[in-house]
């Protein structure tokens, strides 16, 4: 269920890295916990993000949840889909509904994240 090439945070973000660019999203577990997602607030292209610091927020009908950057770097692309169709985050959180792409400034940070297998274990224990 959780793709093997993804790296996860304990705050339920994921990142998959290819060629120094990390695609960032929230996990299927996170979207389920949030319920119907109605609004997504994301940074602009060019913004500098720091690992563990605020990236944006996702709002369900009921509540606002902060999203934290799983890795540091510069935002090079923001998913345009989510400003008009935030509900896609409920349908395809690991695919079409990625949040941002980040040009990694410290690729070693990936080592501090959870593998898909460890994330699954973490969810089981949470």
């Amino acid at each position: 269920m959780y793709p093997a090439n993804f790296h996860f945070t304990k705050e339920h973000e994921w990142v998959s890295v290819e060629g120094g660019i990390g695609v960032v999203g929230i996990s299927d577990h996170a979207q389920k916990e949030l319920g119907d997602i109605v609004y997504v607030d994301l940074p602009k292209v060019g913004a500098h993000l720091e690992q563990g610091k605020n990236l944006g927020s996702v709002e369900s009908v009921k509540a606002v949840s902060d999203i934290y950057a799983p890795v540091s770097g510069e935002v090079v692309e923001v998913n345009p889909l989510l400003s008009t169709a935030p509900e896609k985050l409920n349908d395809d959180p690991h695919g079409d509904a990625w949040l941002v792409k980040i040009k990694l400034s410290s690729p070693d940070e990936i080592k501090s994240l959870l593998s898909a297998e460890d994330y699954q274990k973490y969810l089981g224990a949470e």
Partner: protein
């Protein structure tokens, strides 16, 4: 998990909610379902067909005796003399200074018997407030333990509930009630609700709640009935601009400020808070509840600050997405002069001002 969360109060339907896969939350000390299938789906079920809510956390207080009328009329804002037997009205229970102890529903069962439905988290406070005011020949009875309350709401609510009762529901008018049997058990059947939709609220013995809950779900199956949680209850009541205690109203808010002047009858006899309200009416209120709609990107939520002309002017009492309208809406307190529809306001969302405009309310009104 099949047990209520430790330390929380549970309704007789707690196990049923868990069996149905509800997400449970701590709601003012009660272990309550916030959603089952999803807030949006549940919301639309009520607007388009029918939804079933467990509202057994709500409190009940009964007033009996020759002076039952005099007592209830002296502690509430609405004119109890106008109620016929079998009729209910929305009213305010106030402090002397005019702020809300609670907002309540008063049902007239008989000349010497009134049945009051109050908010869950206020029930003990309300009971003490009324009991303290009772210097008359009346008894004030804390009855919450004797009632479970279910709300069957939506255009198919009548057809659903009718299958389970011989009481003819169609003649019961809005804000009226009848005592009858629902699936063989004595029930107070009221055409009331907190959704802005047609529907019923029934009061039954807690021991019967579980059985009747499932029977209602069966009866409504052909209409696609959904069990609904507090999440949908909140979006539904917000669209209909129904006040929520702790948000639109509380101890330092008066009915006039909350745009609830229609439940205040200054021309009746004396009641707690009357002098303060009479004086406020004469002087005019300085702040007032207004509806707003977001025009910028973002959702103004409960507690967010509201700015007018670049300066802090008020706060959002309730705000969120409106599933029916597909817009982001809310209620806020503003200086009286700025509370008319068409006022440009800014809502501070994560330290950024986002544009909004005040609009007429209710946001949603059902077609009659």
């Amino acid at each position: 998990m099949t047990q209520p969360a430790p330390g929380l109060k549970a309704t007789p339907l707690n196990a049923a909610h868990r069996k149905l896969g509800a997400r449970m939350v701590d709601f003012g000390g009660w272990d309550m379902p916030v959603q089952y299938s999803g807030i949006l789906e549940e919301h639309h079920a009520v607007r388009n067909s029918v939804g079933l809510f467990d509202v057994s956390h709500m409190g009940e207080i009964e007033i009996h005796g020759p002076d039952a009328f005099a007592l209830i009329d002296s502690v509430t804002t609405n004119a109890v003399a106008k109620l016929n037997i079998g009729q209910a009205h929305y009213s305010g229970l106030l402090y002397e200074h005019g702020g809300f102890v609670d907002d309540i529903l008063v049902h007239k069962v008989a000349d010497d018997h009134y049945f009051i439905c109050v908010n869950a988290s206020n029930q003990e406070k309300d009971f003490e407030h009324i009991a303290k005011a009772n210097k008359l020949n009346a008894t004030v009875d804390f009855a919450s333990d004797r009632y479970a309350q279910l709300a069957i709401q939506g255009p198919k609510g009548l057809a659903t509930l009718q299958k389970l009762t011989a009481t003819d529901l169609a003649p019961i008018q809005y804000y009226h009630f009848a005592d009858g049997l629902v699936s063989g058990t004595p029930a107070r059947i009221a055409r009331t609700g907190y959704t802005g939709e047609d529907g019923f609220e029934i009061y039954i013995a807690p021991s019967e709640a579980d059985r009747i809950w499932y029977e209602i779900l069966d009866a409504g199956a052909e209409f696609g009935i959904k069990p609904c949680g507090l999440g949908a209850r909140n979006t539904l009541r917000l669209e209909s601009k129904m006040a929520l205690y702790g948000h639109e109203i509380h101890a330092s808010i008066t009915p006039y400020e909350a745009d609830l002047g229609w439940i205040v009858k200054l021309d009746k006899g004396d009641f707690t808070g009357k002098a303060a309200l009479a004086s406020q009416k004469q002087q005019g209120v300085t702040r007032k509840l207004a509806g707003f709609q977001m025009t910028g990107r973002g959702i103004g939520r409960d507690g967010y600050e509201v700015y007018v002309d670049g300066a802090p002017a008020g706060w959002v009492s309730s705000g969120g997405p409106s599933p029916t309208l597909g817009k982001n809406i809310g209620l806020c307190y503003l200086p009286s002069g700025k509370a008319k529809p068409g006022q440009q306001i800014q809502i501070m969302i994560r330290n950024q001002p986002v544009e909004a405009v005040t609009v007429p309310t209710p946001f949603y009104k059902r077609a009659k």
